[in-house]
Amino acid sequence: MSTARPKTLFDKIWEPHVVVEEGSQSLIYIDLHLIHEVTSPQAFEALRLAGRKVRRPDLTFATMDHNVPTDNPFDVRDPIAAKQIQTLADNCRQFGIPLADLNSCDQGIVHVIGPELGLTQPGKTIVCGDSHTSTHGAFGALAFGIGTSEVEHVLATQCLWQVRPKTLNVRLNGRIPAGVTAKDIILAVIGRYGVDFGTGYVIEFSGEAVRSLSMEGRMTMCNMAIEAGARAGLVAPDEKTFAYLQGRPYAPQGADFDRAVEAWKQLCTDEGAEFDKVIELDVADLEPQVTWGTNPGMCLGVNDVVPSPDSFTSPVARQAAEQALAYMGLTPGTRLTDVSVQHVFIGSCTNARIEDLRLAAAVAKGRRVAPGVRALVVPGSKRVKEQAEAEGLHEVFRAAGFEWREPGCSMCLAMNPDFVPAGERCASTSNRNFEGRQGKGARTHLVSPAMAAAAAIAGHFVDVREFLDGSPSPLATGSNTGGAGNGAARPA
């Protein structure tokens, strides 16, 4: 009997959240507001100055992550960082906001704890003063990053003015090859279509490849939607989503959960619904990716060579490539597998969940980090750390010569004591390889957790599939145990 126009997943979340419309702007109700120490102090200060209160402390949740030292979280030596952490605690107390502080077993990177606590749920609108809020879209929530003035606005009104974004469907077809992960796929998509193909859009990721990804993989993919310029990434919820959420502390429980699942099942794009733009990619032939430049779109398959600026047709792209190569200290024609690394960082809201650590541990198991390489594993949250330790992954990493750290953003943005010295090179599982991101003059190459672990062992980039070849399963130990870290065969 319904003759309603078919809707996209985005429409189905957006429309019930519109409180008021004024011209092109809609006032959207926010179901969950996540905050952290770096982008909130000025917002609280403005509230206080205006004599305003937090409208819905019960829909707000705070954690500490960006500044937290990961060797000893309680030893914040930087006085200004300590002040931000203290300011957040004071603000949460004053305004009655729940906070996962450094003593809490819930503490961790904001985009890791939202899902694992079950705060993140399908159909919700979620914002946070951090661009990688797009991560939560993996659950079919409309989630995006906001600036500090908007943080203030949401605190005061629980709403946000938005211009309705356009919709973009990224369809990923085909089977994901062994050794290739969600990280490689999203890097390859950005590599092909550029760092701004998503600007003005909300991306819905769909297709066989997306369905086959775990929740962790979908989070990695949505996490990096912002690196394509998109406001948000979305994946329609399915049985995997429901199974992930069941029993989480803030998820509905019992009969409420069953009712919620029935509602969540409606959150999919209807047959015949139209997107403003569609792009399609077959993932069956993808290789593990490595970035060579200073934005995530500057990436190639691991078996490629560093490109020549002349290979870019537009003068602007050519100039950008020249600048990137100069910064990265790379010569065109060099094989990526010949590029050596001094640092390896396995962590961040992109790739520090349990599955990521399992994949990295599978590569590290029974091997040794190459001499001269400093390799860090930083779990995304206390819960991830606990789970990993219960599985013995920390022992695997330690035995291989990796440092096992406390949760936090760590070397993803180096606002804490973890950074890469100028001119040195890091294989990193984070999301941004911008100039100076991991420290002034630091050279960042983005890779998947398995590729990062493989680079740590080899001392240079290496096709992780060589570590997996001949093994009955990716979790099997390779043959080159012990040794001085040169066990990985170089491509012939």
């Binding site: 092109s24 931000q84 600036g147 003035s149 908007e150 003015w161 950008a320």
Partner: protein, 199 residues
């Protein structure tokens, strides 16, 4: 917030695509808990050499651009992190208008909250401004009321802007105050939703 109606100012040119907010304000300066005082750190890693002296190679250090309040930039300006500190730093430095072929979303939004006007012009127009401006920096007038960028030689380029954003910037209006005028609608919405959730 200071209203912006018609702004005349000197231009500075930054010839790079994908300028990200990590460059606009590097993270070591994000630890302050105030909104002010970020201008001194704008483009820090590009602007200063390791010894702390100004980098003569960096565009904004060019004597011709001293005191500029209009920045002409390239595609995808302000990509990356959501840090509003980028807008604070630009505003604190004295920039009021940024002209570029495209902007990253969050940065674009943040500009309006801080009295900064980001103007999207066609790539060819921006290229023209760069060509004319090379070696001859000049003043421009940006008329928000009429939605026009005016060159000294009399040519002018129209631009689009969302009417609500224009209204707020023209009048220097505070967003939160305006939204609170919708208090009844918000409260009503909350009631409907909580009924639906319980039901």
């Amino acid at each position: 917030m200071e209203p912006l109606v018609r702004h005349e100012g000197k231009t500075a040119f930054l010839d790079r695509v994908n300028v990200d907010t990590d460059q606009i304000i590097p993270k070591q300066f994000l630890k302050r808990i105030e909104r002010s005082g970020f201008g001194q750190f704008l483009f820090y890693d590009w602007r200063y050499l390791d010894d702390g002296s100004p980098n003569p190679e960096f565009a904004l250090n060019h004597p011709d651009y001293a005191g500029a309040s209009i920045l002409v930039a390239r595609d995808n300006f302000g990509c990356g992190s959501s840090r509003e500190h980028a807008a604070w730093a630009l505003a604190d430095y004295g920039i009021r208008v940024i002209l570029a072929p495209s902007f990253a979303d969050i940065f674009y939004n943040n500009c309006f909250k801080n009295g900064l006007l980001p103007v999207v012009l066609a790539s060819e127009t921006i290229q023209h401004l760069f060509t004319v401006g090379a070696g001859h920096p000049y003043s421009l007038t940006v008329d928000l009321e009429k939605q026009r960028v005016e060159l000294p030689d009399g040519t002018s380029y129209p631009f689009d802007i969302d009417p609500q954003r224009k209204h707020k910037l023209l009048n220097g209006l505070d967003d939160v105050g305006l939204t609170l005028q919708h208090e009844a609608a918000i409260a009503d919405y909350e009631q409907r939703r909580s009924k639906a959730a319980v039901g």
